[in-house]
């Protein structure tokens, strides 16, 4: 088909009109960006009108048309290079027209889009090539028409050259456009010979995230990136660009300050590190006059690259209004969600919640664990001991249908065993010990007796907290902290230690950052930390920032004003009393969630929330945690009842779950499917050995003697429990912490130093040696020894394969050495050390 000349003329006419409109848009665009006086009509950017924004966002869709059409035009022109007037000509004409029109549309849409965001250098290049190609296209159309209409052959060469240039131009425009959305190294990182080459596995991650997020950081990622940057500012820049000193009129300790800039104007150009004064300054040579930080300490390459990346990504600082919190803060108030209905055997409230959770997550209930596993669990979890031979038999012969609950009750009633076991947990958390820094110089006070009695009598948790926070002579050690001789950093004065430890242990809250400077991992401010610490101080503490006095003071105050007030002028004993009452108020949902989460973690291996000291993290079931915390408080904060509630549930009796990679345990994607496997603690392991083979620790190592264990009260066969003895190399190797700092969970992984202690440690081998002698006298035959050790240590019958191996080493002539070696091997079996 051929266009007739009349039509062509009218088309040309329209095109000229179009070109004029187009050029005026470019003009307007320039005015918008460069010369528009603020507030004038012209400065009304297109993003203020929804339709223009919408149309702008169609740009990425439209751009593909001119690319394809113009490239095909060029291709056909190449094919027909020898015969200009080939039969393809009308097709070429049509392609050219389509390419030009769509390139004009794409250019206009693109200009609208660019008003919406900051992109940087690549945008300029992209615009340059895109708009020039569009203009070139219009010119080409005129040439093409002239050649056709007036048969002006001399234009053919010019037209063709122009067309090939336009094809290259549209490719370049496309390329720079793509770098805006996909990143500069999108292509080059697939090439093994380039600097930024990424092997396939990493690429996958990136592509995946590109697909899901369009190459843009998610809100959470933006937040995390921002925190990293603020941490760098805080550690390297605040000293001169913060509240204290404002050099160059620049402050970096707040969003407004950072983007406002200093005396020389803005320091951050989002999207463009190279134009950002801040980036320029931190990348200067260290002898340059303008280099920052100025005092000769260059930022690390890593820190510089974090800041560069942050600016490139548009310097995100997710903080809407002033009141909006950057950091997630868990709700403070208690919540009592409605308990899901009982369903079949799932009537225990814990099970009702689990059942609902399982249904929602499409998890089916597995069979509960068998008796021997259950028995070992409850013994170790509740009293920290292995069941004895008699107890194993008794439990096996117990035919009552509710025997599991009855036995749990029985164990909880063994007051001393229970207290001795849980003493370890609380000693770690309250950093109480028999030896440690400070004790001999009266710089620290033990609370063991108070603690033991409190656990033994099952003191309600609110009262427990009251007595620790507003202590008597026997419980003052926790609040008094550790006082070292000499001058200590002001963030480690004893009042601040108290503030940090109370918030960590009871509220699952990290106040450590804020006790030195405004925290950048939470919204807690230096002043908040001092206000809280003032509760423990005789006088008002002078606020120190990074150990430098500021001359400022603040009142004594709760961290949450909802929890009540503190009488600022009152004596410290009054303030502590007020604090104690405020803390344990039912309205303080946080304190009850924190303890429920800790107890849950003790018996289930993992908390609803991990880490246990970061209670602002999300639980795997908010409803379940909230319900349990609410009802725990309502039930007089009865810890034994809480343990009973959990351990008598079917949920507790689920088969244990093991992870090959410990990172999965604390992953935010964690799904609860059952109790987490845990390794015996140092104390449990030592006590298990002592019970089987005779005391591993001599009586002389005992540092606390409960009444029940004194003199005649001592039961036959009892031994010094590990939680009551002075710390030693054996317990240390197996993970008992030195209790200089609060410690709320222990490592469960074995290591070489530990293995060496178990392989040739004197104490351990001596215990096994005397155990072998005793057993030989008691059981006399190798056969009996093998059967008994499997039963007593592992709670099961020996298997025939195992029997053969053991029997082979014991031989017919029973010797102490070989018995000892058998015992050693049994105690080191993972099956022995791990609680399944």
């Amino acid at each position: 088909m051929r266009f007739n000349s009349k039509n062509n003329f009218s088309l040309n006419h329209k095109l000229i009109v179009l070109l004029i409109i187009f050029l005026s848009i470019i003009l307007l665009h320039l005015i918008y960006n460069e010369f528009a006086p603020a507030g004038s009509l012209l400065s009304m950017a297109p993003e203020n009108f929804w339709f223009l924004r919408f149309v702008g966002r169609l740009h990425p869709l439209v751009v593909h048309f001119p690319v394809a059409l113009l490239l095909f035009t060029a291709l056909f022109e190449l094919i027909t290079i020898k015969h200009y007037h080939s039969p393809l000509r009308p097709g070429i004409q049509l392609l050219l027209l389509g390419g030009i029109i769509t390139s004009l549309i794409a250019a206009i849409f693109g200009i609208l889009l660019s008003g919406n965001a900051e992109y940087g250098d690549n945008l300029l290049l992209h615009e340059l090539f895109g708009i020039s190609t569009a203009i070139l296209g219009v010119i080409l159309w005129f040439l093409h028409q002239r050649i056709l209409e007036k048969n002006e052959v001399r234009y053919i060469k010019i037209y063709r050259c122009g067309l090939f240039i336009a094809a290259i131009g549209i490719l370049l425009a496309g390329h720079y456009g793509a770098t805006l959305t996909h990143g500069e190294d999108y292509l080059s990182n697939t090439l093994p010979w380039t600097e930024n080459y990424e092997p396939v596995e990493k690429m996958e991650l990136d592509i995946k995230s590109n697909l899901s997020e369009g190459g843009i950081l998610s809100k959470a990622e933006e937040k995390e990136l921002n925190i990293k940057v603020r941490a760098i500012f805080a550690h390297n820049c605040y000293k001169c660009h913060g509240e204290e000193k404002v050099k160059g009129e620049l402050r970096l300790d707040g969003k407004d300050f950072v983007f406002k800039g200093g005396e020389n104007g803005k320091v951050i150009v989002p999207g463009n590190p190279d134009k950002s004064e801040l980036y320029r300054r931190i990348t200067l040579a260290s002898n340059h006059e303008d280099v920052m930080p100025s005092k000769g300490k260059k930022l690390s390459e890593y820190d510089v690259s974090v800041i560069e990346f942050w600016i490139k990504k548009g310097a995100p600082w997710p903080e809407g209004s002033k009141n909006e919190e950057v950091f997630k803060v868990a709700a403070l108030a208690p919540r009592n969600p409605e308990l899901p209905p009982a369903s079949g055997i799932y009537s225990n409230p814990v099970d009702r919640w689990t059942n609902q959770y399982f249904t929602r997550n499409k998890i089916t209930w597995p069979e509960p664990v068998e008796d021997r596993i259950f028995l070992r669990r409850i013994f170790l979890d509740i009293i920290g001991l292995l069941p004895t031979k008699q107890e194993i038999d008794e439990f096996g012969n117990d035919k009552r249908p509710d025997k599991r609950s009855l036995w749990i009750k029985k164990l909880l009633d063994r007051e001393d065993d229970y207290a001795i076991h849980w003493l370890t947990f609380w000693n770690d958390a309250l950093r109480n010990d028999y030896t440690g820094t400070g004790y001999i110089t009266n710089g620290r006070f033990a609370i063991t007796d108070w603690l033991y009695q409190s656990i033994k009598t099952n003191k309600s948790y609110d009262q427990f907290v009251r007595e620790l926070v507003n202590p008597n002579e026997k419980s003052k050690g926790f609040i008094e902290g550790i006082k070292w001789r000499g001058v200590v950093n002001s963030s480690q004065r004893t009042e601040m230690q108290a503030a940090q430890n109370v918030s960590q242990v009871f509220l699952g809250l990290n106040l450590k950052c804020a006790s030195c400077h405004n925290s950048f991992i939470s919204d807690w401010k230096l002043e908040d930390a001092y206000a809280f610490a003032n509760i423990f101080a005789d006088t008002t503490l002078e606020i120190n920032r990074c150990d430098k006095p500021t001359g400022k003071y603040t009142d004594a105050r709760m961290l949450w004003k909802e929890l009540g007030s503190i009488d600022n002028g009152a004596k410290v004993s009054i303030k502590r009393k007020q604090l104690a009452e405020n803390l344990v108020k039912p309205q303080n949902g946080r304190i009850y969630r924190t303890i429920v989460n800790r107890i849950w973690a003790q018996v289930m291996g993992r908390g609803f929330i991990e880490p246990l000291d970061m209670m602002d993290n999300d639980p795997w079931s908010q409803d379940m945690l909230d319900w349990m915390a609410f009802n725990f408080q309502k039930n007089n904060s009865n810890i034994k009842d809480l343990i009973y509630l959990i351990t008598t549930s079917k949920t507790y009796q689920l088969p244990s779950v093991g992870f090959k990679d410990p990172n999965q345990i604390i992953s935010q994607e964690y799904k609860f499917t059952g109790r987490l496997r845990r390794r015996m603690s140092a104390e449990e392991f030592a006590d298990a050995g002592s019970a089987l083979f005779g005391s591993i620790f001599p009586d002389s190592m005992v540092r606390y003697r409960p009444e029940s264990q004194v003199g005649n009260n001592q039961q036959p066969g009892s031994f010094p429990r590990a939680s009551l003895v002075v710390n030693n190399s054996f317990l240390t190797a197996l993970g008992r912490p030195n209790r200089e700092t609060v410690s709320t969970s222990r490592e469960s992984q074995a290591n070489l130093l530990q293995a060496l202690e178990l392989t040739n440690g004197e104490r351990f081998n001596a215990m096994l040696k005397s155990g072998a002698e005793n057993w030989k006298l008691k059981y006399k035959s190798g056969d009996l020894i093998i059967k008994e050790i499997y039963k007593q240590a592992l709670g099961r019958e020996v298997r025939s394969e195992e029997y053969k191996i053991a029997h082979k080493i014991l031989g017919d002539n029973l010797k102490n050495d070989t018995i000892q070696d058998l015992f050693w091997a049994i105690m080191l079996l993972p099956e022995f050390q791990i609680i399944y």
Partner: protein, 473 residues
């Protein structure tokens, strides 16, 4: 080195959990997010020779005007209680009794300008904590010992030799608890803690089968263990990291105890003439063990003269008399250690550091411009030799020796004044720089850090320390 940091890196990091204390019993170290770059190294092994208790610079490696003891002498006139003796370096003298070390100074550097931390009323263990961790106690998180940092960053040289070995310190003495507070891997996790050998003369006991167990029986016991694991009921529970780590660590321990390298701990295998040179006491034998361990591939070894309040370098009285003994203990073994390692070519890749928590002076407690509460009575006129010596704790001019590991040879760094107060007047150097210099020699980047409770915890506070490049050849 390019550390191009991009979106991918960022995502990789964010996906990792970061925390402080443990969670659900997971090993600490696996939960840390690190920011660590490896660099070129000049050394593989570090031997720290620890002069516990405060070694007076003016009576050791930085002697001043000598005033012999005489009844009725003025305390303020006494700067040194020993004669200076020329070393192999022109114009450089050491205090009498350190001649052997003086003769090997062409292999190393003496730093004469170390300035210890200011922490008020002086307590040895706090300064020792500061020296070994670079952080001032107390800390709200448990700070790792420098040996643990190195063990964590570089691992073992030889898989059967523990990466961090601490020789010579018992923890049953005074301030034992305070010593424990920094003999720890802290938040890095117990895996990187010190392997303790309190007494080198019986060091072998730590790495051999239990007392009274024959080698054959030891093998059989291990075989029994493995057989029972393999045939046991474990299969039904499947695998988990606790079980795997337990099996792995037991196997590692067995390999160490069976390995020929374990004989490095056995000093009785040392030829007599060499043993005798080192045998000046526990410290000397510790040096011998350090040498033997270095030969077998060790990463970080600390040998201490052992801290016990008012013992060894902690001279609150009889400073002069007691230093005669202390010097006898250290002079021969240290010089021999340097020579032995040089002979076998290992000195180039081994960094030896001799240091103490602070120095001593007869008059000044603390720093001249920041004096602190005195702890020792010092009469103005000395009548009794027990008052003749450096008995007060002095923090403003301490000596450190460094050998090997790319350190300059025959070099003197820094200077203290010739008259009291004999404080640092040139090139003051602090603990941050000392640590970073050690890390630099090992190729550990200066901004090495971990996120602990979401806060970055650096090898040196806030990552601000810088290696002193002037110390390197």
């Amino acid at each position: 080195m390019s550390s191009q940091w991009n979106r991918r890196e960022f995502l990789k990091q964010s996906s990792k959990a970061t925390l402080a204390a443990m969670a659900a019993g997971a090993p600490l170290s696996s939960l840390l997010t690190s920011c660590n770059n490896r660099r070129d190294s000049r050394a593989d092994t570090v031997i720290l020779l620890w002069m516990a208790g405060g070694m007076a610079h003016t009576d050791t490696f930085d002697p001043k005007r000598y005033t012999p003891f005489s009844k009725g002498m003025h305390a303020k006139d006494v700067l040194s209680t020993f004669k200076p003796v020329p070393t192999i370096l022109d114009g450089i003298s050491f205090s009498e009794g350190l001649e052997s070390i003086g003769k090997v100074m062409d292999r190393g550097t003496v730093i004469r300008s170390y300035v210890a931390g200011d922490m008020g009323h002086i307590l040895h263990s706090r300064h020792q904590y500061h020296w070994h961790t670079c952080y001032k106690p107390p800390q709200s998180v448990s700070a790792p010992h420098i040996g643990s940092w190195i063990a964590k960053e570089l691992g073992n040289v030889n898989p059967v030799i523990p990466a961090f070995i601490d020789i010579g310190q018992r923890f049953t003495l005074g301030e034992g608890e305070e010593l424990k507070a920094f003999h720890t891997a802290g938040f890095l996790g117990s895996e990187y803690g010190p392997f303790l050998i309190p007494d080198p003369s019986v060091g072998l006991e730590s790495v051999r089968p239990p007392v009274g167990m024959s080698s054959k029986r030891f093998e059989n016991r291990n075989k029994l263990y493995n057989d029972l694991i393999n045939k046991g009921a474990m299969g039904e529970f499947g695998s988990d990291y606790q079980k795997e780590s337990l099996k792995r660590s037991m196997e590692q321990a067995y390999r160490l105890l069976k390995s020929p390298e374990a004989s490095a701990f056995d000093l009785s295998q040392e030829p007599k003439e060499s043993y005798d040179i080192y045998n000046t006491g526990k410290f000397g034998l510790g040096c011998l063990m350090a040498r033997r361990l270095t030969e077998q591939g060790a990463r970080f070894i600390s040998v201490t003269t052992e801290y016990e309040p008012f013992k060894s370098w902690d001279t609150h009285d009889n400073g002069h008399t007691r230093l005669v003994d202390m010097k006898k203990q250290i002079d021969g073994p240290i010089a021999q250690l340097v020579k032995d390692l040089e002979k076998t070519g290992r000195l180039d890749r081994t960094l030896i550091i001799l240091a103490s928590e602070f120095s001593r002076d007869m008059m000044v407690e603390g720093r001249p411009d920041l004096k602190v509460q005195e702890q020792v009575e010092q009469p103005d006129i000395i009548h009794d030799i027990k008052n003749y010596g450096m008995h007060r704790h002095f923090t403003d001019g301490c000596s450190i020796l460094m050998f090997g590991g790319g350190i300059k040879k025959g070099y003197v760094y820094g200077k203290t004044s010739e008259e009291r107060p004999c404080k640092t007047i040139e090139k003051p150097i602090r603990i941050e720089s000392i640590h970073q210099t050690i890390y630099h020699a090992l190729g550990i980047a200066e901004d090495t850090s971990y996120l602990v409770e979401k806060r970055p915890f650096y090898t040196t506070p806030d990552g601000l320390g810088r290696a002193e490049m002037d110390l390197f050849a």
